[in-house]
């Protein structure tokens, strides 16, 4: 959206940034440089870093984190957020396990079933936010607690471990180049979402309503419905991430996103924020989210192999989020001062 605005003739006439300059100053370009740099540094330092197994594990985790990040990105578009992504993801994975194990549904039906279930939970959030006018933070704080509590209550906190072998086999599947198929799933989702936000009416309405709800409303967009759709999309993507985790583990485990699903919150915000999604809404960075997830995992897996201790990595990720938002703020200030944006 912003890129399109900058290409107006006025900008060109007043000596605005060229397209090369814009590319060089974009979030995505900066991230690509950082990912490559980190990869080369760790690859040079650690012999095991570029081993096929390490690359496979890294790719798999990037795939899952990207999906979690895309789920949050879809609701950040509205200027809101969804604390319940983890709870929705786990609940959908458990619903998937129940459909397969207890209802004997084939995977071809259970997978869409779980995605729709996640979408429904998201839509409930969206409906509550739109109808009450209360900030999504507090609504999803409550629904996180409710979704997770109901899920634990119904499953008695027991995992579904009798899934068909195809599920675990999918999680282990390597493509011809040795990368995980889960990374390919996320790549495909990124492409689909890019098309969705750029070329479909609903996608464009989501961006318009998120950027300026009143203006969108005046020009005939029913922002309430659009916001509910954003939350539903978040729910479906969270369900997809839950299913990917299930494939990795080979079982649907209630604790796979931590207490109340809170363990997903950091990856959910880290990837989109690193990727340049505006927290105030109206702008998405689909590719940036993928690159953000890649950057996080290139660093994390390097730190893990350096054996600096699993526990300190959590602190490092927090510092990384802090550094990312500070760097973004600094970049904006510099670009604005030079008149480049």
């Amino acid at each position: 959206m912003m890129a399109a605005a900058a290409e107006t003739p006025e900008a060109a006439a007043t000596g605005g940034p060229t397209s090369i300059q814009k590319l060089l100053f974009s979030n995505e370009f900066g991230l690509v440089v950082l990912v490559l740099l980190a990869f080369l540094v760790f690859g040079g330092m650690l012999p095991g870093y570029t081993s096929p197994f390490s690359l496979f594990a890294m790719g798999r985790q990037i795939g899952i984190d990207t999906m979690i990040g895309l789920a949050m990105m879809a609701v950040i578009v509205t200027g809101g957020l969804d604390l319940s992504v983890g709870a929705i993801g786990v609940s959908s994975a458990m619903a998937f396990g129940w459909l397969v194990e207890h209802q004997g549904l084939p995977l071809a039906l259970a997978i869409p079933g779980a995605l729709v279930f996640g979408g429904l939970l998201g839509a409930i959030n969206g409906y509550a936010v739109v109808r009450s006018g209360v900030h999504s933070f507090i609504i999803t704080l409550a629904s996180m607690s409710i979704f997770f509590g109901v899920m634990i209550f119904l499953t008695k906190a027991e995992a579904f471990r009798g899934l068909p072998p195809e599920v675990a086999a999918f999680g282990r599947l390597r493509l011809a180049t040795g990368t995980s198929v889960l990374l390919a799933v996320s790549l495909a989702t990124c492409i689909a979402l890019s098309v969705f936000y750029r070329f479909t009416i609903l996608g464009r309405r989501m961006l318009a309503a998120g950027a300026n709800a009143r203006a969108a409303e005046v020009s005939g967009v029913r922002t309430g419905r659009v916001f509910v759709a954003c939350h539903a999309l978040t729910g479906a993507l969270a369900a997809a991430a839950g299913l990917m985790l299930t494939a990795r583990t080979g079982a649907a485990v209630p604790s796979m996103a931590g207490q109340l699903g809170q363990d997903w919150l950091l990856p959910a915000f880290l990837a989109p924020v690193l990727g340049g999604t505006l927290l105030s809404g109206g702008r998405v960075a689909v590719v940036g989210t993928l690159l953000g997830a890649a950057f996080v995992n290139v660093i994390t897996s390097g730190l893990l192999q350096l054996r600096i201790g699993e526990f300190w990595i959590q602190a490092c990720l927090g510092l990384m989020l802090l550094a990312a938002v500070l760097a973004d703020r600094g970049r904006h200030l510099i670009l604005r001062r030079r008149g480049l944006i």
Partner: protein
């Protein structure tokens, strides 16, 4: 202008207080052991700790922000407090001062970054949550500290008089202090002014940055006290302390009528919010109901309270119109 009866209900704390009272009466009819002196002691201990947690969030809600790092600050202080006593053999009062200093420093650091960069408090405190939690786990490697002096254990478990535990003492002091802050002190009024209308507050000459930093430092202080109270009550410095504070820290102020966009909070209402949550949690235990139901009930309570607050806002707006 309504009559005296309806105007009384415009007070934030009357509704939650009535609900607490009714809940006590109903539960004690079905389960007389609810009012046993031991149960009251347990109930008051839980209320005391949770009130500190709720006040820690309340001061941030007042300034119109949110603090996701509250629990991780409390947890970091809890294990540091225990470590200072077990590893360095510091006397308990010195360790308490050290714990308070860590809490204030952690809170002030969050506040400083938020105030100076203008980045949303949500993101900064999410980063803070990870950093403080990571330091906690890095120090403890997820193992608890067991060497807690007897005097600290006694403070967390013995009764001051009758069924009233010593833990009530810090709660009363903190609640009175916060009431005085919001109603009598300049800094408290600045906090509420910023939460109510940021631009107006700035135009009237309030130092936004300093006030936001003060609010977060105070939040860190309250989280630190809550963390150390939990060490006294559990008798160990457990690294998981603080992990489950997030939901209840918002639930109690919201039940107590706090406006989440800031500018309007009630210390008394928050107290009864804490009481309601404690009574419900206890009742579920007494009636042997699945503890996971507590999560569902807490979530439901938040939604219910948000709904009530919305209705009241609409009513007040109509009365003014």
């Amino acid at each position: 202008m309504g009559n005296r009866f309806t105007r009384a209900f415009d007070n934030d704390w009357i509704g939650p207080a009535l609900v607490s009272l009714i809940a006590v009466v109903v539960i004690s009819i079905f389960q007389p052991s609810f009012l046993s002196s031991f149960n009251i002691l347990v109930l008051l201990s839980a209320i005391a700790v949770n009130m500190l947690i709720a006040l820690g969030q309340l001061v941030i809600i007042a300034v119109g922000q949110m603090n996701l790092a509250l629990g991780s600050i409390g947890g970091l202080v809890a294990i540091s407090f225990a470590a200072m006593m077990e590893l360095w053999h510091l006397p308990a009062p010195v360790a308490v001062l050290g714990g308070l200093a860590i809490g204030v420093a952690a809170g002030a650091a969050s506040g400083f970054v938020i105030a100076r960069t203008g980045i949303s408090a949500f993101i900064i405190t999410l980063a803070g949550l990870q950093i403080f939690k990571g330091i906690n786990l890095g120090i403890t490697e997820a193992q608890p500290f067991y060497g807690i002096p007897q005097v600290v254990k006694d403070f967390g478990n013995l009764a001051m008089a009758g069924p009233i535990p010593w833990l009530v003492l810090p709660m009363v002091l903190a609640a009175l202090g916060m009431w005085a802050l919001f109603n009598r002190l300049r800094i408290g009024r600045f906090i509420l002014a910023i939460g109510g209308n940021r631009n107006a507050a700035e135009l009237s000459g309030i130092d936004l940055n300093a006030t936001v930093i003060w609010a977060h430092a105070l939040s860190g202080l309250l989280a630190a006290i809550a963390g150390m109270m939990l060490v006294a009550r559990l008798q160990i410095g457990h690294p998981a302390i603080g992990e489950d504070w997030l939901i209840s820290s918002f639930a109690a102020p919201v039940i107590g009528g706090a406006v989440l966009s800031g500018g309007h909070v009630s210390v008394a209402g928050t107290f009864f919010g804490v009481v309601i949550i404690a009574i419900i949690t206890q009742a579920l235990v007494l009636f042997a109901i699945d503890p996971f139901v507590v999560q569902i009930v807490l979530g439901g309570l938040i939604l219910w309270a948000v709904g009530i607050n919305r209705l009241r806002e609409v009513r007040v707006a109509r009365a003014r119109a």
